[in-house]
Amino acid sequence: MATAVVARPVARPQARARDEEVLVWPDLVFIEFIAALVFTITLFALASVMNAPLLDQANADVTPNPSKAPWYLLNLQELLLHMNAAMAGVIIPTIWLVIMGAFPYFDRDNDGQGAYFATENSVKITVVAGVIGIVGTWALILWDSGKIAFFLNDWFGLSGGDRLRFLENVRSFQSQVQWPDWASDIPYLPFNLKILASDAPGGPTEFQHIDFPGFIVEIAIPMLAMVALPTIMIYAMWRLGWVQTRRDALLALFSGFIGAYGVLTLAGTAFRGQGQELVFPWELKVSEGIPGQEAH
């Protein structure tokens, strides 16, 4: 029995260009030393003028309002306000990390390697996708917190009346639409169960129930927004002739992500006040206490 080892085309390190090289000592070591020095000095300066926060001792009975995760998780906490918790907190971040980890396995040629914005259109794609990420995410946040309807009404006197109330934010789609009763209580069978007579030895079949409007609002619409909007953006850029390679597609996707991620982090950190209401940063305050009977 013969087994052949087939050499796969795996990329090899580039050949070195010795005449283009400089010595690590002193050229690189010097730069590293300066960078380390600058950071050491800056951090010492910062640490001597600004103290790390320390509030009262932990108390499980006194809930601050708002309670917030560390700032780098506030993007997820912000997402949490708009959709199903498992989706916002775990499924989406996990999927995104996997997608990001898979970047190099999707975009495999050497176009634009080793230098900033080396491919045609890359600056254009990055800037536009970044702006779309920023503006689009803000727009979605404002819409879902009912602010757009509020502004339209308050500033321009525009009101859709009751007929358009279901467009006020995502969840009003559930609450303002006349759903038939059965829609919020659709029985279904989990994967491996059979329908049994009610006097069967194992007892009657247990149905599970789906809340269809809830599913639409908590899962379908947010999922659609997160999958469809970037897809449409990349498709449009492709039709415009901007996106031509896989690298271009990733540039658009990643830059849109950076914009959206930045806005989510910022909104969660600086624009969410008591009860996670959307407020301006200067209106932020925290009160402590049992919800409803805060000390002040």
Partner: protein, 250 residues
């Protein structure tokens, strides 16, 4: 005709000679300042700290605007956090009765204690930001492309580890900020389908943030995660060398 004599050694030369050419000094530093290219390469190749580097690199990579030193600074933060973290460990006991008081004690009674705590805190924030920016620079320079695919994946793992390191440290002061941030954070983790509640229980050692959670977070923060991160960093750095240094245009 005047003959040039070599100048006789000055006082400074003599002091220099006594300081740096004595038996003890030379036992530590075998050579003087490496002032020839050959010696400069030798020092990088043989010094335990410098040998993470190759002896020579492509000229485009010493431009600060190529890497902005972001990876190196992430590593520097990791080292600084290790040093300040060890100092804090001398005074901190991860028990619900003591943790908060120990932090207060560090701030008020320990020489430079407040400074150490501040440094540790701000460096932790800086590291999260630097690692994220490093990822962006790697992406925008297209440096994840072959043959560096796997090192990008190692990087994504390092990003997650950095978040986890910071998150586990957040609970330790045991104040209201810590307690509620971790409560919110672990609730997020607990909402995962199927695995969520179980993993939240494992992380907290119970159903809510309490003494068991504190000791778990502490252990993960001071040994478990740093060890993992150090292993992945070792792989990360080794792979950079194996992949032929930093990426450059073909």
């Amino acid at each position: 005709m005047a003959v040039e004599h070599p100048a006789s050694p000055t006082i400074a030369d003599k002091i220099y000679d006594k300081l740096f050419h004595n038996y003890v000094w030379k036992s530590i530093f075998r050579t003087g300042y490496p002032n020839t290219p050959r010696n400069q390469m030798l020092v990088v190749a043989t010094n335990v700290f410098l040998h993470l580097h190759p002896t020579r690199i492509h000229r485009t990579h010493v431009k600060v605007t190529h890497t902005y030193c972001l990876g190196g600074l992430s590593f520097f933060m990791f080292l600084g956090l290790t040093v300040t973290g060890i100092l804090l460990m001398f005074y901190y006991v991860p028990s619900v009765d003591r943790a908060y008081l120990d932090i207060q004690n560090i701030q008020t009674n320990v020489q430079f204690g407040q400074l150490m705590r501040n440094l540790h805190r701000w460096m932790a924030h800086a590291m999260v930001i630097l690692v994220f920016l490093h990822m962006m620079r790697v992406f925008y320079t297209g440096a994840y492309k072959p043959p560096r695919e796997f090192n990008w994946v190692v990087g994504v793992v390092l990003l997650v580890l950095t978040f986890l390191l910071s998150f586990t440290g957040y609970l330790l002061p045991w104040d209201q900020l810590a307690f509620w941030a971790i409560t919110v954070g672990t609730n997020i983790a607990g909402s995962a389908p199927v695995l969520g509640p179980k993993s939240r229980f494992w992380l907290l050692g119970g159903l809510q943030v309490g003494p068991d959670a504190l000791i778990r977070f502490y252990t993960l923060h001071v040994i478990g995660l740093p060890l993992l991160a150090a292993i992945f960093m070792a792989v990360h750095f080794w792979r950079i060398r194996r992949d032929g240094g930093l990426a450059r245009p073909l």
